[in-house]
């Protein structure tokens, strides 16, 4: 369904398509600034939206610098620390990373950073592929409430939230809706 969501007291739009575009383009600039060796960078997206974001950032990097940053997929479902505690088993997908990782900077890419447990699982997954020179983290939204000592290197928008609130990210590649970020209050 490609219906545009209507704003209501319960759902507030926080970012529209243009804001998302500017944020990701800025992240691309920051990545270029901090990584002089762009061919050594690998943007590893966490499915599903992280993968779409990683590809968009790679496209901006190509557009701005003329250089290619490799992209990959990091599935975290097999590396979660809560297997057997959830009633529904998370769907697993095949991962792929450009190998070898030894000289590379792997940038984990996800849509929302919350407790940090997904990122921990992503680092665990990366370690089974090899030992990259460094790992960085890029997120579209940081909503606070970290449960682990994990911090992002590149952030699209800082959005302090209450625990009972929800962040909804919609991207046209994955959700078939216009790009948007919504804050939902229960």
């Amino acid at each position: 369904m490609s219906q545009t969501r209507k704003s209501s007291p319960a759902a507030i739009p926080v970012m529209d398509a243009e804001a998302i575009r500017r944020a990701l383009r800025r992240i691309a600039h920051e990545i270029i600034e901090r990584n002089p060796q762009l061919p050594a960078v690998a943007l590893a997206g966490i499915p599903s939206r992280g993968v779409a974001i990683a590809q968009r950032v790679a496209a901006f990097i190509r557009e701005i610098s003329g250089k290619e940053a490799a992209t990959g997929v990091i599935d975290v479902a097999m590396h979660r620390d809560d297997v057997g505690r959830r009633r529904e088993l998370p769907v697993v997908r095949a991962s792929s990373l450009p190998l070898p990782l030894d000289e590379r900077t792997v940038i984990i890419v996800d849509d929302v950073l919350y407790t940090g447990r997904t990122v921990r699982a992503a680092m665990d997954a990366i370690s089974s592929f090899g030992r990259p020179a460094r790992i960085q983290l890029a997120v579209l939204i940081d909503r606070g409430h970290r449960e682990l000592p994990i911090r992002p290197d590149y952030v699209g928008k800082n959005l302090p939230t209450a625990a009972r609130e929800q962040i909804q990210v919609r991207l046209r590649e994955t959700d078939h809706e216009p790009d948007a970020v919504w804050l939902e209050r229960q």
Partner: protein, 309 residues
Amino acid sequence: MTARWTRKDLLGLRELSADEINFILETSDAFKQVGTREIKKVPALRGKTLVNFFVEPSTRTRTSFELAAFRLSADVINISATTSSLKKGETLKDTARNLEALHADILVLRHSSAGAPQFLARRLKASVINAGDGAHEHPTQALLDLYTIREKRGKIAGLRVAIIGDILFSRVARSNIFGLLKLGAHVTLVGPSTLVPREFEKLGVEISHKIEDVLPRADVVNLLRIQHERQRREYFPGLGEYIRLFGLTKERARLLKPDCLIMHPGPINRGVEIDSDVADGLQSVILDQVTNGLAVRMAVLYLCGGIAA
């Protein structure tokens, strides 16, 4: 998201829906990738205990399940009939209950009695995986066969699959028949009339006793091992006779379409059901089956073992 797998056990393919079977195959894609990593291990079943309980002996299937469990970070115990307390007269139910008292999470069972896995699944909180029960089912073998076909040919629906050999006593054949038909393949059973009963037609398969008629149209040929003990029970006159009528010789292999897959659950009897050169030839995917077996078993253990008790 609606849960696509909710079972704690895998007992057979007969009771699974096409959707469930496809979900296992899709999940296997993810786990196949783990075998290509530098560290072939994910923590998905960390802290879980898997018991390989092989009352009927096996090396290949047991090793495959063992490796699959290790790759998922589970702990593995192997019990075989000769070393188990079954020899001392303990019942199957009591042996399994004892294992559960040790907090075994997953029981992989191979047993000569059909229904043994189901018997235990009903009584245990642990997940029970059927690794072969009598002549009834061998679901993970059929799943890896389906996975291999899907990998090589892109699909299952509409393909013509010939299963050749001792169908009557084969749990591999039965599980394959259920799985292939559910996913829309055409199945033809080929073998001596003593080993391919006509009643199987009721399942929705064709039957032929002339291999040359079936080979030219087949997209997949799955050869079953001829078990030598059948000879003595007079199901067919002798190995020589079997080879002459049903062996996949070099000459017969020429009748196959160039992209026809040649499969075998193993271990192969070179020169009996399949010519040595044909087994090693380009159309043979026998070794792919082994690799895929690992991925499929990882998927099954993850799906059954990962559900909260």
